[in-house]
């Protein structure tokens, strides 16, 4: 078993090596073309919508990377630029004020205003670093959110009794004009997906080119050691403003495309949650790595969607668990040993309970409804679900035991992770894994809507433990 595994992982790393050896332009256009085929592979609007979302967030994460990853400025007001772009588009292309600018004018105008707002936030923050900058920029973001909420009743001081509705408050601005570029009007999900994909491509090229130039080197120098950069002749203040402005311009245009796609803007589209998601994407992918930021966007946009379906969530859970055990156990042979022992333990426990107190158990809850089964995968995953629920202790009243098991599980896992490798650890891992599966089946699988984000969080924690620099990150922090 281990021999075949080795050759498998060997082949994998061979593929990765060959991929990395390709010129960056080839890799870039290869991925872009591959992504462009998505609408040909599926006619499901939901899938294409998620793909569009991935492009949107990837563009934002890449832009955020310029400010945070390269220039080292902890900017928590970034989301405001995205929001400003979206609201500007809404105001300039709707009946809100009866303004209907053409898209070819709106988008560059928003990019320009993005630069202006970047300077506006940047100038008072020039002397601030680290935590202080974070607080000021966070304030900027909150001010934007408040203004979006409250600028629906603006009284003009020079004209009494006239109230102007700028942002529409909680109702937002709706019925926006669609984007129309080069005589082509974007009218459906697929169109917007391509628009966003092309925009992501442009953003990646711009940022990559900037990175491989005097500007990118100066930004990264500043991010590493601002004093040294300044002493080596780099005007750090101007560079900071420039970084803020670049990020803001890209975020603004992305916001405009988002607004046009959604055909509406609401304050909650630009909440702190979105900001945190963006940061998570960037950190997960690996700070100051462009491919990483994009990959982070893919993972954090796609995984929560996959977890919406209980069957898929179950498949992901068991696949991750099995692969994790097989690939990361040290020594390698421990993986299969644990796996087989857990299966035996399950049957053993079930046999005991069946004999002692059969009333406690209940048949599997998954019902095979013939008409709802659409694909081979669904059928297989349902079969698998029934199998698992027939194997684990599936109780009639799972709530309390599930909760208790959950509470035991966390210290058990923490304790295990602190133990020295050895036979004892191996033996204790077996019931811990069993407990994990028990908690999953009794608590999580039952309520996917509630536990979805919890699972995403868990996944993030695990990924960051295995790859503390992010999936593609190579950064190293040295304390001198």
């Amino acid at each position: 078993m281990s021999a075949s595994q080795l050759s498998l992982s060997g082949r994998m790393s061979g593929v990765i090596e060959r991929w990395n050896a390709l010129p960056i332009a080839t890799r870039f256009f290869g991925l872009l073309v591959a992504a462009a085929t998505i609408p040909f592979l599926t006619s499901n609007d939901y899938v294409i919508r998620i793909a569009g979302n991935v492009c949107l967030f990837a563009a934002l994460a890449v832009a955020l990377n310029v400010v945070v990853g390269y220039a080292g400025l902890l900017d928590l007001g970034f989301i405001a630029f995205y929001g400003i772009g979206a609201y500007l588009y809404a105001i300039l292309s709707s009946d809100q004020f009866g303004i209907h600018w053409p898209s070819w004018l709106t988008l560059p105008f928003i990019a320009l205003l993005g630069v202006v707002f970047g300077l506006l936030l940047g100038s008072p923050s020039l002397r601030l670093l680290g935590d202080y900058l974070a607080i000021v920029t966070l304030g900027f973001g909150l001010v934007f959110a408040q203004l979006a909420l409250t600028l629906d009743r603006v009284e003009l001081p020079w004209q009494e009794g006239v109230v102007i509705n700028v942002t529409g408050g909680t109702n937002g601005i709706v019925k926006l004009d669609p984007l129309s570029l080069f005589g082509f009007q974007l009218s459906n999900v697929t169109h917007y997906f391509y628009a966003l994909l092309i925009w992501l491509g442009i953003v990646l090229i711009i940022v990559h080119h900037l990175n491989q130039s005097r500007m990118g080197r100066a930004w990264r120098s500043m991010g590493e050691d601002a004093l040294a950069a300044e002493t080596m002749g780099m005007p750090t203040r101007r560079l900071k403003l420039l970084a803020f402005s670049c990020g803001a311009a890209i975020a603004g245009v992305t916001g405009a495309i988002f607004a046009a796609w959604q055909q509406s803007v609401f304050p909650q589209n630009f909440s702190t949650d979105v900001l945190i998601t963006l940061y998570a994407m960037m950190v997960l992918g690996g700070i100051s790595n462009l491919g990483g930021a994009a990959l982070g966007a893919v993972v954090l946009s796609v995984v929560p969607e996959l977890l919406r379906s209980p069957e898929l969530a179950r498949a992901i859970f068991y696949a991750t668990l099995t692969l994790g055990l097989l690939l990361f156990s040290k020594p390698r042979r421990n993986g299969p040993i644990i796996l087989i022992s857990v299966i035996i333990l399950g049957f053993l426990l079930r046999w005991i309970v069946q004999a002692a107190a059969p009333d406690l158990l209940t048949p599997p809850t998954i019902k095979v409804a013939a008409e709802s089964i659409s694909s081979a995968f669904d059928r297989a995953s349902q079969q698998f679900g029934i199998l698992v629920q027939g194997w684990i202790l599936f109780l009639k009243d799972p709530l309390l035991p599930g909760n208790i098991a959950f509470v035991i599980l966390i210290p058990a896992l923490l304790g295990l992770s602190r133990m020295k490798a050895g036979v004892l650890k191996l033996i204790l891992t077996i019931p811990a894994i069993y407990l994990l599966i028990f908690v999953w089946e009794t608590r999580f699988a039952a309520e996917p809507a509630v536990t979805r984000l919890l699972l995403v969080g868990g996944l993030l924690v695990v990924l960051m433990i295995f790859r503390p620099n992010g999936l593609l990150g190579k950064r190293k922090i040295e304390i001198v």
């Binding site: 080119h209 005097r214 990264r220 040294a228 002493t231 080596m232």
Partner: protein, 261 residues
Amino acid sequence: MALLEFTKISKHFGGLQVIKDFTFEVNQGEIVSIIGPNGAGKTTVFNLITGIYTPDEGDIRFEGKSLLGLEPHQICQRGIARTFQLLRLFLNMSVRENVMSAAYPRTHSNLAQIIFRTPGFRKEEDRIRTLAEEKLGFFGNRLNGTFDQPVYSLPYANRRQVEMARAMATEPKILLLDEPAAGMNPNETQEITQLIGELRARGGYTILVIEHDMQVVEGISDRVIALDYGEKIAEGTYHDVATNERVIEAYLGRQHATRAK
């Protein structure tokens, strides 16, 4: 007229007087060493010259023009570059990029040229790439083959040389070296002594250096300035300063000074 004139400078932090009425100058083509016990204010002198601190009193002139009120990057652009005592390299950037980054003030491509990769931008990029390799090449074999490695993967002695190459890439007229031999073994110290001589001979730099290692100071200096508690206590050739009573006293204490007499 001297290249660098440091005239009657005083600087205090709170109640602590770090530099007191300190005057010295460095002439074109000279190698001048500043020595002094720990805390004498040597690094503060560098921080004052490079604009990290502003003096309370006095004037600093470079090529006859005052440096007061300029920001550090402007001072660097005037032709003053330094290294740091504890090394301040951009650790996650490659050796080559570290050196290329310092060519920033000598390059002029704007955003549009960069984004569209115009021929002008490419030419400039090639130019500073060659410049960086040329400056790194100054250090001979030590750095060969490491140009594309991140700096954090380099041993200490090599990092020092990268930092020197970075300072050289700003194309300065004067190099300020802050303890270039600190933390080096005898071989490496020997090497650095030779190197500083070559920096002047082949590179044509004027050099102001802070150093503790008296062998290095002896090997390189045209002139030595001794500093204690922020005041100049001696100035002259290495021999003059090394035998100066106040200098020995500052380094070894009064007892030794009298005994040496």
